[in-house]
Symmetry: C2
DNA sequence: TCAAGTAAACTCACTAGGTAGTATACATGG
DNA sequence: CCATGTATACTACCTAGTGAGTTTACTTGA
């Protein structure tokens, strides 16, 4: 069967790809650089991934569940009404954005960089990730008895993507705080009419 | 002085850079490709621009005023209260996004692609452009007698950036329509408390 | 028990083409 | 004549991807 190191090697490549793709961008990072960071040769990398595009897709897939889980945990841990719980998500995102290595939302940045390849599998992964986030929010709002849960989830998701973009543009976490305040108002408004 | 064709040549290069950088992305486009599209040699391009980075910056600078002017025109032409005028901007953006060549906001995409170079002059141009948009909105809201004009302009700008990101991700103009509806609600809310 | 076989996992050296940027020379209008 | 503008041809290096061969771990037959 497979060597015991096989899965471990694939993970090492993915970890290196994560750091480099997120830190430097997709097209700015060469396959050679990833192989070197992973401590193996390019030929070995191509044994585990059939192309650079394949590796880009795998990079985003590896971030999908962890990111969604973090949002859900922040929301669940927060006290108070859904409006406040929503706002907490934005506050946590703002906190994360203070780390020096923070470089925006990896999904949005990858989609933006691959805008000239709409059919790229990684773009589809990014779109699905954002859809999942919105759907999860909509379900949370529906459980809280909000009538227009879908519309509200859509608006909050738009504010979140706007916050990611603005924080990256201006390098200022305040934008996520302000987006959170706007989201709070919209949730309160929806609650009032429910 | 310069040959009469000099300014024209610079413009030809800038036009080619515009189409290629916006259509394909920054790092995906080579200086050779821009020179070829402009119908001249790379050496001539380097006579007018000192580096690729310089050309990237010039590309964004050339889009700054036209974009802001379009937003202002859409807003001024629209009928009704500021809430409706705000919503119209989003509707116009959604219309534009239906063009096959639409590839998102050139400023946001450039900033996202150059996220690993925070000091890049083009990133600064992108940040200034977004600040100008927000400031223009804040002034329009203040003129309309809204108390929290700045907060409101910030929220609407966040929704706009979110709309750009989501439309690019999902290739669906509906996201701008929904962002416009949310913006409408926030403006109405601010008007009510003024 | 242990040598031979096998397939997975891996490396070295390479191809063919693209990259930003430049040294040098030629043209052309004032 | 001479400054501005343009082109040819080049450097030095990086790019994704591959052909061919080697090492490793495990299986299997005697």
């Amino acid at each position: 069967m497979a060597k015991p190191s096989s899965l471990e090697t694939r993970d090492r490549i993915l970890t290196a790809a994560n750091k480099l793709f997120y830190g430097e961008g997709i097209r700015a990072v060469s396959v050679d650089a990833i192989a070197e960071k992973a401590g193996l040769t390019k030929r070995t990398l191509y044994y585990h991934f059939k192309s650079k595009d394949d590796l880009i897709e795998a990079y985003l897939i590896s971030r999908d569940q962890p990111n969604l889980a973090a949002f859900a945990q922040w929301f669940d841990e927060a006290e108070g009404p859904v409006s406040a719980k929503t706002q907490v998500i934005f506050q946590r995102v703002a906190e994360n954005a203070r780390h020096p290595k923070w470089k925006g939302c990896g999904f949005l940045r990858t989609v933006a960089e691959l805008a000239n390849m709409p059919g790229h599998p990684a773009v589809a992964v990014g779109a699905r990730h954002k859809k999942k986030f919105e759907l999860w929010l909509a379900e949370a709002y529906a459980k809280a008895g909000i009538q227009q849960a879908q519309d509200l989830a859509r608006a909050v998701t738009l504010l979140m993507d706007g916050a990611f973009s603005a924080m990256l543009t201006h390098r200022d976490p305040q934008y996520a705080e302000d987006a959170g305040a706007a989201a709070y108002r919209l949730v309160e408004l929806a609650c009032a009419s429910s």
